[in-house]
């Protein structure tokens, strides 16, 4: 039972991460290759707070806010550079986060932070993570239907045209980065308390690519598709034990094959097969 609970919890955390990235990259069109940095920021901030004796809910909130505030900073950077430049800058943000954490003794450097207090049992974390994931999915569906989602679409498709019709492009980009990175911070806070040990390498470039893989394989821009992608990629190595050794080989090959044959991901395939457009 414990095993299934922890798989379910990780699937939920991945849904949170992927939904957050999809808000930034799928809805608002801002490619980010550094999403794991915000996962890490949330984890480190919440862990430090908890270790210092801050109550659990406040520690989690702290992680959300720290990640979200740094997300706003990166959002401002996104105003200066576009598309290809932005992809490289966000990749750089990931390396900068990792390189900075690794050198800070007060963050445990390479050894990370251990003995993080854990106030919940396995059921508690599963309920928390799944509850948070469901809430984020609902938020994502709402954003898509709201005028914010429509404006994100305008920014993603042509930001100059969006400006000329009075859309505050900068404001929307920053909002997308804030919501998306705050969600990653939430996942980080839950992760840190559940595992009670965090190390820098958990939040490396490969982690960013894994989150991106979930979004892209599920279908960038589609909430249901992204949820499916996140759950599928979490379960795959578990269901097929032999894959675990070749996990990255399979991720990489899937990314390549999806881009080559169905850039719309699972959602795109469903749309082609059944003519239904997933939200």
């Amino acid at each position: 039972m414990d095993y299934y609970l922890s798989v379910a919890t990780f699937a939920a955390l991945n849904v949170i991460l992927a939904i957050g990235l999809n808000l930034i990259s799928g809805f608002c069109g801002q490619v980010s290759l550094g999403h794991a940095a915000f996962y890490g920021l949330g984890a480190y901030a919440a862990a430090l707070a908890s270790v210092a004796g801050v109550p659990f809910p406040l520690a989690i909130l702290g992680g959300v806010l720290v990640a979200g505030v740094f997300g706003i900073v990166v959002g401002f950077a996104a105003l200066r550079v576009r598309e290809d430049f932005l992809a490289i800058v966000t990749m750089g943000v990931g390396f900068l986060f990792l390189g900075a954490v690794r050198k800070q003794p007060w963050l445990g450097a390479e050894m990370g932070i251990a003995k993080i207090p854990s106030p919940l049992d396995k059921w508690g974390y599963a309920a928390l993570a799944i509850g948070a994931a469901v809430a984020l999915v609902l938020l994502s569906l709402h954003v898509r239907r709201s005028w914010m989602g429509r404006a994100f679409g305008a920014v993603a498709q042509d930001e100059d045209a969006a400006r000329t019709i009075g859309i505050d492009v900068a404001g929307y980009k920053i909002a997308a980065f804030f919501i998306g990175t705050a969600a990653a911070g939430l996942a980080g806070g839950i992760y840190a308390h559940m595992t009670q040990l965090i190390i820098p390498d958990t939040f490396n470039f490969i982690q960013s690519i894994t989150i991106l893989a979930m979004v892209v394989i599920g279908g960038i821009g589609s909430t249901y598709g992204v949820v499916a992608g996140a759950i599928l990629l979490t379960l795959m190595p578990e269901l097929f034990r032999f894959i675990n050794d070749y996990k990255l080989l399979v991720y990489g090959a899937l990314l390549l094959l999806v881009m080559r044959f169905s850039p719309g991901g699972l959602a795109g395939m469903i749309q082609r097969a059944f003519g239904v457009r997933l939200a």
Partner: protein, 250 residues
Amino acid sequence: MMLLAGERLSIAFGGVHAVEDVSLAVAEGELVGLIGPNGAGKTTLLRLLTGILAPDSGRVLFEGRDITRMPIHRRAQLGFALTHQIVRPFRDMTLAENVMMAAAGGVTARPWRALAKVDARGARERAMALLARLGIDDAADKLARNVPLGYLKRMQAARALALEPRLLLLDEPLAGLNAAEATRFADLIVELNAGGITILLVEHNLGEVTRIARRLLVLHNGSLLAEGEPRAVMARQDVRDAYLGEEAHA
């Protein structure tokens, strides 16, 4: 008071003066044409007025208020609309959705307010009315990427009108249209102006622009060469030389 004024605007690219010391003013209700041979600096001047470029020196005033450094979206919110020379639709939206985006200006002005609102019926009604007014409501639910240029040009005008602008800046609205389409579109511009919208248009089609504009500004080598009643301006020797010079070089 002038609705729009440029005061002593200058900008240089790599040491070359694209626009030098140009002042112009457009009064409320006017329909003004801005013409000039290729490379005269028309598009650059328009970009200075719209805020896509910031001038090296000089000011842009809207109703006497200095908007030189104001971001483009805030100008749009003030009632300062423009269309691009090359149409810029949101390609993966329908024509109706394109216009709705502009029609919902009050809602989308702030991201957090936009998050709270889902209802799109009002915006859709206004968008459909505008599409009908421009005669393209038959294609309202077609994706922008799938309709011909003539439709996109009119959609772009509808999108600008959805902002309920007081001032409309049109960058070569007739480019790419055939003669009949151009005449019809020019008539529409006159109609919009008669409806109370002040219009400044940059145009290459001299026949149409002299027909519809009530005043012409002629730009040459980045400076204002002539200004006045269209027929009088076009009769001036220096204006003819500017255009003929272009042909002699071509």
